[in-house]
Symmetry: C2
Subunit: 413 residues, 2 copies
């Protein structure tokens, strides 16, 4: 947690409505941080179904292993999250920790260990001492409250400078259903997934396999389209819980991912995921500007996304944005290094609405003055048109500033 | 060119011997920089053969296109290099510039345009005004000197803080032959190739196809094993010239890449390439530390190199080194994100001789004190053993400091 709040932090937070069947509590366990909450318990009513998406790291954390295994059952009663220690690369001790936490959680919530979900974020490689918080769980489950979303988001922060929340209410059949989400993440953020924890819950009665289809489909243009530093965490976890409580208010139960009644829910979920993903980027370590990179005219959508990520991950592009320098030549460089089909002589580049390069050379009508003024904004849009096809993709990142170096030069101590 | 010389600059420079058949001249053309040389002419005696390796960027510069075309002939009489403008992404104007420079060079050296080689380094996207220096070429060819290697290296610098030279003398048959090289490059440095110009010359009588085989084989463990910022330039050019003058002193002419008499030359060339490549890393923009990353125990050498580059390119690893923080958890992260076969529970990590992690967890015997002392060094060695095979690779990089951000925040102006 940083003393200085990102200048890109939301100006105001939405009022988070309650989700029937979801209660939360936080605690100060002093795992790494002092004088702040660092444990979150999210308690779900019986019958809650769950889906998840995780890091593609070959070195996943112990809690990621735990969740993957429990996801098969599709049922959730309790989510336990700690910040300050990732319980990653902790070998047999890591498995011991998740086992102990799972057992303590099951006792606290009166459920099976298969219904417990775990996430940890913080330093990699330090054994996680579960005795710091396992004895608190029973009390937390008892005291857990419906109206506690903002506090929940605060408890899972690490280098984040603000808590991240999002909410939408949509129609499912004739009933209103709500989707609330929280997220954390500021560094070690790259697609598949970002270093990122995010927990989304809804009162909609949706079966676990359908939730999974919605979530897997929803991350492509949201959490898997953001990058802060191209580094992929060992711990990325995105879980979606559905309590089904809205069934009592007439919401239909959905058992088929193709059910046409899902369309509003699907859009709503996409909105929540995108809002949270962008909040993560806007809290990128040291970030002073949000950068939206759109690639059009690529051979395919997949190729467009690879080129967009090559631009978004380029330190030279990101430092130029930090310096408010419209160095479009570096965008050309990043297109060239992506290894995707491209034709130098058809390439065009825009910063905002300023076309700087057109079909392989500097645009003769380009105004340095207008572009310099544009670069002073908080939100920078870069577009590259490859000129050889119809593939299109958008990704989001932030600039690379000296503060990123400072924050990451001595994180462990 | 920076005011502050990298703390990793060589303590002393080798005396560069003459290479018979290679003469050099420099000029101040004021292309971008003032009060320094920014044009180099390297003049070769008739009969000089040439080989080259270039950027794999899909958006190569006009001079790269030019050189690729002329390389087919295998003969070189004149190399013209300018700094301050890359003549990259300059469309038809770029081709016009190389055409005009080629023509002026051919007139100056009294040779065919096919024997002219061109390289440009600096800002991307600005048309290069060749009238700044084309009229100087005839005079430069006339005044060119044998003993001018250090000056040649200085004329091609951009953000470099010191000129880069290397030399070896080896036996070819019973004759001594010399290999001299110069290089520039400090940012936009990543394999295939680095943003990097390097020109190597020898008096050995070696045919162009053999030179090409030696050069292509030599870059894998040298220039293609370094990275400063993962960004690949549009302009990377490495040329190897052989004047053949040593034939007059009894050196045998080599027409076959498998000729056993080549072995000392091959080793010598490797030494020059490696020395120049490491000098580039040690002058990485803002660099305060050199980092050698070795990966052992990978599935294959190719896989080892990918993992090593994932570590070497990780902003989080590089900022930790800058902060003198032995954050080995980030090495684990970088292994995990490489997408190569790995087994978390067999992974071990060293910083220098300090083993921090062993078979999937923190090494119980690891000393934070010893490791902290180690991290204060200028040269940091990171090793990761994947534990699943025999594949091995070493790459080199530098740390990521605030100075990198400063240097690159406003490069164009």
């Amino acid at each position: 947690m940083s003393a200085t709040i990102s200048p890109l932090a939301p100006k105001k937070y939405p009022k988070m409505p309650e989700i029937e069947g979801v209660r939360m509590a936080t605690a100060e366990a002093g795992i790494k941080y002092k004088n702040r909450t660092d444990v979150l318990a999210m308690v779900f009513d019986e019958g809650t179904e769950v889906a998840g998406v995780f890091t593609r790291s070959k070195c996943p954390s112990a809690p990621v292993d735990w969740c993957r295994q429990n996801l098969a059952g599709g049922k959730a009663r309790l989510l336990i999250v700690n910040s300050g220690n990732a319980n990653a690369f902790t070998g047999s001790k890591g498995r011991e920790s998740t086992g102990l936490t799972g057992k303590a959680g099951a006792a606290a919530a009166g459920c099976s260990e298969n219904e417990i979900f775990l996430a940890s974020t913080g330093v990699i490689g330090e054994p996680l001492d579960t005795s710091r918080f396992s004895h608190l769980l029973a009390g937390m489950v008892k005291q857990a409250k419906l109206e506690f979303w903002r506090e929940a988001a605060s408890a899972i922060m690490t280098t984040d400078t603000y808590p991240k929340v999002a909410t939408v209410t949509v129609k499912l059949g004739d009933a209103d259903v709500t989707i609330n989400g929280i997220a954390k993440g500021a560094g070690m953020i790259a697609p598949d997934m970002a270093t990122m924890l995010s927990f989304v819950a809804t009162d909609a009665p949706i079966a676990a396999p359908v939730l999974q289809a919605l979530l897997s489909g929803g991350v492509g243009k949201t959490f898997n389209a953001i990058t802060v530093d191209s580094d992929t965490s060992t711990s990325d976890t995105l879980l979606l819980f559905a309590t089904g409580a809205a069934a009592r208010r007439g919401a239909p139960r959905i058992d088929d991912a193709k059910d046409p009644r899902l369309s509003a829910f699907k859009r709503g979920l996409g909105k929540v995921l995108k809002s949270l993903a962008l909040q993560v980027v806007r809290d990128g370590e040291g970030a002073r500007k949000q950068v939206e990179v759109t690639v059009t005219g690529a051979r395919s959508a997949r190729s467009a996304k690879r080129i967009a990520l090559s631009i978004a991950n380029s330190p030279l592009v990101k430092t130029a944005v930090a310096g408010e320098d419209a160095n479009w030549g570096r965008v050309v460089m990043a297109v060239g290094k992506a290894g995707e089909p491209a034709d130098r002589d058809r390439l065009s580049v825009w910063f905002g609405d300023n076309r700087l390069a057109f079909e392989g050379e500097r645009d003769p009508d380009y105004s340095e003055e207008a572009t310099s003024a544009y670069m002073k904004r908080d939100d920078i849009r870069i577009r590259a048109d490859i000129g050889i096809g119809r593939g299109k993709a958008t990704v989001w990142t932030c600039d690379l500033t000296k503060e990123y170096v400072t924050i990451n030069g001595d994180y462990r101590s």
